[in-house]
């Protein structure tokens, strides 16, 4: 299988390109909630509120967090499946949001996505060969005479048989459908694939097959993945670096080994301690978080996690922590790791804010 497919990836000039495939700087995506009579939005859901990260060529970045924390919105926005609110996304040094329609169309094959639900992301009326091949023909990835062979090769690489070409999606099981989705993304010869919870809808044993397939394809074609998932054990297995998101913000980012061995942010710690370990004798030191994730339409002030944090301080309630590098390669946004100067600054700020709040309250009572 391996030798046969080596020529699919025609990115011969990959070495000349920079090491960073994707650079995301302060990406924001707000969704308007209600609009007034003139169509002016009255409020926003801050789904993604200033996220920055870099993905190196040939590596996998995991993105974890609870549902509603903006993982999927990040994935979709950085492919420009929806417009950003602010920030920038550089793919191989090109700002995706600056591109004109025609230029973006040319770039599309390079950036692909695999969706969560393999049951709703395949058209039930199109045979599998056409699902995989449609975009290949549209983009002219291979000359027309090689088209059939090419599709067969791609399908084989993803563990599908040639005779599956004429079948329809309903004839396949969940795992095989996910293979079709992966084949569809892979057929366009991409450099970067966003995997948006590709294994959440699958059974444990099928999950293993798909994860192994993704890893295999990465080695074969030198792909770069953004792997979005809420399953921390899967993310640990597949990723090189991991980012943890909470309410639209990145709270921690580090290499996988470092993050799992030495989580800094209280949220990350709680998240890891909540993973059920399949061993009845395992000693569990669960940090059980109180309550549930606050609404992103009305996030708490200061550090967004302070309402559920066990180590909440006074300044956490008023000042947003700075997202910075604590040890080389390990970023986090938490007041616990402030330098003394920063502490002094934030303390002063929070005191001022607290005083102001008190004054406001008095004002209200006075009236």
């Amino acid at each position: 299988m391996a030798n046969e497919n080596t020529n699919i990836n025609t990115n011969a000039d990959t070495e000349t390109l920079s090491e960073d495939v994707l650079v995301v700087r302060d990406l924001k995506k707000y969704f308007p909630t209600a609009k007034n009579f003139f169509g002016k939005p009255l409020g926003f859901v801050k789904a993604v509120d200033g996220v920055s990260f870099t993905i190196k060529r040939g590596t996998t970045m995991g993105l974890v967090g609870e549902s509603g924390c903006g993982k999927s919105t990040t994935g979709r926005t950085l492919l420009r499946l929806q417009e950003k609110t602010s920030g920038e996304v550089l793919f191989n040094g090109i700002d995706i949001f600056e591109l004109k329609k025609e230029e973006l169309r040319k770039l599309r094959p390079k950036i692909q996505i695999v969706f969560q639900d393999p049951f709703s992301s395949l058209s039930p009326r199109i045979p599998v060969g056409e699902i995989i091949g449609e975009a290949v023909r549209e983009h002219g990835i291979v000359p027309p005479e090689e088209y059939d062979d090419y599709i067969t090769r791609i399908m084989k690489a993803c563990g599908l048989q040639e005779y599956h070409k004429d079948r329809y999606p309903h004839e396949f099981s969940g795992g095989q459908r996910q293979r079709i989705c992966i084949a569809r993304a892979l057929a366009l010869n991409p450099e970067f694939i966003v995997c948006d919870e590709p294994v959440s809808a699958l059974d444990v044993s099928i999950q293993a097959q798909i994860i192994n397939l993704l890893k295999e394809l990465q080695e074969q074609f030198g792909l770069t993945y953004l792997f979005i998932s809420h399953d921390l054990s899967v993310v640990e297995h597949i990723s090189d670096t991991v980012g943890v998101m909470y309410l639209g913000n990145m709270v921690e980012y580090a290499e996988t080994g470092e993050l799992y061995a030495n989580p800094l942010h209280p949220y990350t710690k709680a998240l890891f301690s909540a993973i059920p370990i399949p061993d009845p004798d395992a000693q569990m030191n669960r940090i059980i978080l109180e309550g549930s994730i606050p609404s992103p339409a009305n996030p708490p002030s200061g550090c967004k996690f302070h309402t559920r944090c066990s180590e909440c301080m006074e300044m956490c309630k008023y000042c947003q922590p700075e997202y910075r590098e604590i040890t080389p390669g390990h970023f986090t946004a938490c007041h616990l790791f402030n330098t003394p100067e920063m502490n002094a600054k934030f303390e002063a700020e929070s005191k001022a804010a607290a005083d102001k709040e008190k004054a406001d309250e008095k004002d209200k009572v006075g009236r």
Partner: protein, 398 residues
């Protein structure tokens, strides 16, 4: 393209449908009978320390492409005040097992056709056989003696009624003599029990005002409202986040001690089972392939499928280069083979799995390898004590 093996002509479909209709009509008639004498469904428990005993239960679905044997001769017990975890992949019959127990199978196509499910009703060893119980009697048992927590808290609450009303309803139905005030105070007590701090507020709320975790708490409150002796939790945390899952599991664990009931926990997450359960039942393709205490299953998995399942799940802190995956897929449920269902995917096949001449090669019997550990695999045929073969109902006899 070659003719598909699963292809069925119109004529065949019509024939199957006609036959199914005959069978289901007769079974339905029996179920709808009025004035059923108690002797039909009253039995005795085999062991009074059990809450429920499943004895060779068969639940089949009569579909237009043939009979799907979703649960095919399973036997296990749920002891008092303990948690039994049922594990398996989707489609292995976990949920059908629990639905058979509640008599909630989608009728008329889904029917429990054989075996006995004995539910301990008063603790003196008197039991009723759920399989034979008519619907009118069942209504007094459901929600009262046993109740169920469903997978999706989003869809299992009624969106047009307030939370308070929905909890009240259960209590009112099973305790018609209670006054309105008593019912309300009981409801509030239940809401407090499941860890809802703002109980008065939540009482007046509609389901859409609550988050997923809170809704699941309300579901648990409804399930506990009549203090049942058995709670069936059908994937209670699958739709929830990890942190919320930890909260709910913690709650269930605490509640079990408080209200003195058994839990039947259905899940596909081995981690959840390891933390919660005292006993584990592993199912594959409608049959129980291995059962034992949690320690038996996790420290000494014996069936090749259980071993594969454990290996294919990545575990935090354990680094492996490649995850193990079980080759092949589950056999077609309409047309099950007559040998071990796992043989074609198995890495450990031995002589006995295939040797028809020597009297083996059929579906393996249940083999007891320790006091608590039972496995269905020929590899232990010589070591353990043979308990008996599963005894499915022959569809032709119905």
């Amino acid at each position: 393209m070659a003719k598909k093996s699963s292809y069925i002509s119109n004529r065949e479909t019509a024939k199957i449908t006609r036959r199914n209709r005959q069978i289901t009509r007769r079974l339905e008639k029996e179920r709808k009978r009025k004035n059923v004498p108690e002797s039909v469904y009253k039995t005795k428990m085999k062991d009074n320390n059990n809450v429920v005993e499943f004895d060779n239960v068969c639940s089949y679905f009569f579909t237009d492409i043939g009979v799907v044997k979703a649960v095919d001769g399973i036997s296990f017990e749920v002891p008092k005040c303990s948690t039994v975890g049922i594990v398996g992949e989707s489609g292995c019959g976990k949920s059908v097992t629990s639905l058979s127990l509640m008599q909630l199978l989608q009728r008329p196509s889904g029917q429990t056709v054989g075996g006995e499910i004995r539910l301990n009703i008063d603790g003196d060893g008197d039991a009723i056989n759920i399989v034979k119980t008519p619907t009118s009697v069942m209504q007094n048992i459901r929600g009262n003696k046993m109740s169920m927590i469903f997978q999706e808290p989003m869809t299992s609450l009624n969106p047009v009624f307030r939370i308070g009303e929905q909890v009240n309803e259960v209590i009112k139905l099973h305790n018609p003599e209670m006054s309105k005030e008593d019912i309300k105070s009981r409801t509030l007590e239940m809401l407090e029990l499941v860890g809802i701090a703002n109980k008065e507020g939540v009482y007046e709320m509609f389901p859409h005002e609550l988050s997923g975790g809170m809704r699941q708490r309300v579901m648990i409150a409804i399930a506990l409202a009549c203090r049942p002796s058995l709670i069936i939790a059908d994937e209670p945390t699958t739709a929830l986040d990890v942190t919320i899952q930890a909260q709910i599991l913690d709650l269930l664990k605490g509640l079990k001690e408080k209200v003195n009931s058994s839990i039947m926990l259905i899940t596909h997450d081995l981690g959840v089972v390891a933390n919660m359960a005292d006993y584990v039942v592993v199912m594959y393709a409608g049959r129980v392939i291995e059962k034992g205490t949690t320690r038996d299953i996790f420290s000494n998995p014996c069936h090749p499928y259980t071993i594969g399942l454990m290996k294919s799940k990545p575990v935090v802190g354990k680094k492996v280069d490649e995850l193990y995956n079980i080759p092949g897929s589950v056999p077609n449920p309409v047309n099950m083979p007559d040998y071990c269902y796992f043989r074609d995917r198995c890495e450990y096949t031995c002589d006995k799995c295939r040797n028809k001449e020597a009297g083996f090669g059929n579906y393996p019997p249940e083999i007891k390898i320790s006091d608590t550990h039972v496995v269905s695999c020929y590899r232990f045929y010589d070591e353990g004590q043979v308990m008996g073969y599963p005894n499915p109902v022959n569809v032709e006899d119905l």
